[in-house]
Symmetry: C2
Subunit: 530 residues, 2 copies
């Protein structure tokens, strides 16, 4: 043992404490079955024991998870590090070739694979020189699959917190829109602190009931895998995001909190099953700003929506659009504008800045664009086995988000665009997101994506792709008229294309390069400028 | 600079962030004046600058604070560490000789002294070989004293977080009932984590308004000096605990939280100014368990009382009697019994155990007494310049509280007594607190203290000192009858003495040794046993 104050920070502490303090409280529920914290802890300790003794996992080994939001995914977020190993969560929507790359790059020795994903998993491991052991996860906990054998019968092993709290906890591969995925290295210390921050920012308590709409493979579920446990709250697992099923869970299981991308929230809001919740539900939105229409509809349903911002490299949300009580008396429209911003660092986050190319802060005028850079315990250790990319991302000792934003006079940061998505037209920078936000204010528009089209005269001109809301009619000319009164002339989309849906990556990001390709080379090739 | 994730933990971060995020929100109010977080931060930075340039304070110097709960006490909780120095908070109720000892032992080079305490301060420094510089603090911030000169005009210095987060932040001298005070060493890391824990356990948000009933010189106000700032909430300073004034502040300033010893809460509850608060007020009680009568009366006034437990050595409350929702439907009496317990480690605390002399856990039966021992980041670094006492307190690598308790089957710890306060009678151990809790259940008893009286036959017998509630009549015989039905025969007080008040230390602990002296040698000397 060591000095009594020498306790290394690790999210494993949260489960150990909640099992001791909240042992009789519900920890995990998957719709059919439920486990208390004492039971959940026992299963995790058996899995940790099984990992060491039956699967031969050793300190520092990588263990991949190819799982939807079943209880096993949560259990392994404790059992793997508790056995001294490192989690590698895999996005369930990737292709076999992508899994193969990640498994090889991470050197995973074990893959826990859900039965619904055995096809691509088998294909992925087939071609690997060092084939990992694949452990089948069936119906999830309570079934009779190989996984359940470990969870039910292996000898319990006490969860081992690392001596060095900066030890590797998880490697989270970012899907990106181009290039090979990079492995973001998450530490025990960072996850512990980020989780405490989320408990505070989300107001989680032991009475909270958290619905798992956000995939756990996204930045370990933004650390809610650990934050919900820290609070002694209940994890409500849902393997897929069917709106009817979600509404049923929302009502029957008295959900208090959930996180999601706007596309999922929109799906919920527009579902026929939607009706106001009896108690307020706190919803955290990331990936894109909530539109005024979303905020308004959400309020009707008793959802309190907060906008978060971050990247895989920052454990998910390093920033929050924290509500300032001074906004209480503003108009709904003014509130919506403020609430769409990315906001301020969370309580445990060090600092976020908007800087120019020489790392000088841009003026806090809400106008001057710069790159958002961040520091804090919830910035990654670096990219796994990629020192070059790490050095590039950490230029000047700050993490570079690659996102362009502005600093408002009140200290809130607002994203303008991914840097590469800026459209330069007639010497003016145009943020695509600025146009997109205007377009989705139109009542018949569901989603909008704006890209630059090469133009002989202006360099680039913006072109918009929009999807109609609820299958209604959408007139491109009428939409341009709508935008004309809300945008500077040079920002008006030169063309508006109505499409059934937008091309997306496996993680739901719009693939703007596909749209650009379509414009420059596809069947939608524009007529040359006059 | 260093890697972007390399951020040392320090409560200074909380002020830096709140000044950036909540700059326009109220930070400090003293009844007459008020400062926003931006203004508060500016004053703190000027004080930090003044400490270095005008008072010659250097890295690691000790700076003593002899201040009631005025804004200056709060400001210096940031300015002193922000200047690289170490806080030494002094209890305002000590005698000059005690100040002299602490100033000499800590080697303080500067003392910030409130004008109301100049007498004992002058007497204390008079006899010191190395006389510290005394800086006069007048009406508090906004006046024209020497302190205000620094806060208003010194050049601002950026607050400096230490590179090593285990660096010394504060030395808190424990008053104790016997012997010389010991200097408890508090680290930046411990204070940061303990503060986050208190934000979570108390549910502090930026809308919270914290009333400073608890002295800031008690364990840095149980770290609420830093926790309230972390949340961006308002500090409401009160230099003394006059019940009428407190009730005025409670109402006019919409107080949401406060901490206090039961004696202060009782004073509030019994004040003629008392009436139900319009919004719930969360009150945290430490130092002694809340009685059922206190809990009941508090609820009538819309106070939600939670019992905390800890020592100066554990940054104040390392434990909390966390409410388990399973208690919701119990009777009020059953709830009161559960709520009087010391509870479980807070969310950031590692572990608390009840152990026998060989450091083995006692059975979790709610009966077997052992010593409460603790580990965690919120255990002190050790005693300042007293390695011997440190080694003794850290025996077996756990901090030894010196308190006797039991472990209940649900994992909650309940204090039985200070180990030295156990009365041994006829071979049976009697916890004085057990008798005291019964006596205060009598409607006419305000407070009770029980000590052992030497007895030829039984070794010791318990004797009770009680104070009457509200000046009412109190019949010792009737009180013994009252206790007879509630206590085992051997635990019944042999004698009951009605007194006007109990002797207390400067920190409010009952001085049982004074009561014992009174029994054995004073005017109350009992007749010898027959």
């Amino acid at each position: 043992m060591t000095a009594p104050d020498d306790q290394s920070l690790s999210p494993l502490s949260f489960l150990i404490r909640s099992a001791a303090v909240w042992g009789d409280r519900e920890a995990v529920r998957d719709g059919r079955r439920s486990w208390t914290y004492a039971e959940h802890h026992a299963r995790v300790e058996r899995l940790a024991g099984g990992l060491r003794t039956e699967l031969g996992v050793e300190d520092g080994d990588r263990v991949a998870l190819l799982l939807p939001n079943v209880p096993a995914a949560l259990e392994l977020h404790y059992a793997v590090p508790g056995a001294g190993a490192v989690i590698v969560p895999l996005n369930t929507r990737l292709a076999a070739a992508e899994y193969r790359y990640i498994l090889e790059h991470s050197g995973a020795s074990v893959v826990f694979c859900h039965r619904s994903l055995e096809g691509p998993c088998a294909e992925a491991v087939e071609g690997l020189p060092r084939r990992p052991r694949v452990v089948r996860v069936g119906e999830g906990a309570g079934g009779d699959d190989e996984y359940e054998g470990l969870a039910a019968t292996a000898a319990r092993a006490e969860l081992r917190r690392p001596r060095d709290e900066r030890a590797l906890l998880s490697i989270n591969y970012t899907s990106g829109t181009t290039g090979r995925p990079k492995g973001v290295m998450v530490s025990h210390r960072g996850a512990y602190l980020h989780s405490l921050g989320q408990v505070i920012e989300a107001g989680l308590t032991t009475r909270s009931r958290y619905l798992w709409t956000l995939p756990m493979f996204h930045c370990n579920g933004w650390c809610y895998t650990w934050a919900v446990t820290a609070a002694g709250a209940a994890h409500l697992c849902v393997p897929s995001v069917d709106p009817d099923a979600l509404w049923q869970r929302l009502r029957e299981e008295r959900v208090s909190h959930f996180c999601a991308a706007p596309v999922v929230i929109n799906m919920l809001l527009e579902s026929e099953a939607a009706s106001p919740c009896p108690e307020p539900v706190r919803a955290f939105v990331g990936g894109a700003p909530p539109s005024p229409a979303l905020l308004e509809r959400a309020e009707q349903l008793n959802f309190a929506v907060t906008h978060l911002y971050g990247l895989t490299e920052t454990y998910g949300p390093l920033m929050i659009c924290a509500w300032n009580p001074a906004w209480d008396d503003l108009s709904v429209a003014a509130q919506a504008r403020l609430r769409a911003r990315q906001g301020v660092p969370t309580i445990v986050s060090e600092r976020a800045r908007v800087v120019d190319a020489e790392m000088r802060d841009v003026p806090a005028d809400g106008e001057t664009t710069g790159e958002i850079v961040m520091r804090g315990n919830n910035v990654m250790l670096g990219y796994y086995r990629d020192p070059e990319a790490t050095v590039a991302a950490f230029s000047g000792d700050w993490f570079h988000s690659g996102d362009a934003g502005v600093m408002h006079p009140d200290g809130y940061i607002e994203l303008r665009d991914r840097l590469k998505d800026v459209i330069v037209s007639g010497g003016e920078n145009i943020a695509a997101v600025e146009i997109e936000q205007i377009l989705v204010e139109h009542p018949n528009v569901a989603e909008a994506a704006v890209v630059g089209l090469a133009d002989e005269r202006w360099g680039e001109v913006p072109v918009a792709f929009v999807t109609p809301r609820g299958g209604g009619a959408l007139d491109p000319d009428e939409l341009r008229e709508f935008a004309r009164s809300r945008l500077a002339g040079f920002k008006l989309p030169r063309r508006v294309e109505v499409v059934d849906d937008l091309p997306r990556t496996a993680t739901g990001k719009v693939q703007k390069f596909v749209l650009r390709d379509r414009l420059s080379g596809g069947e939608d090739r524009p007529a040359p400028s006059p």
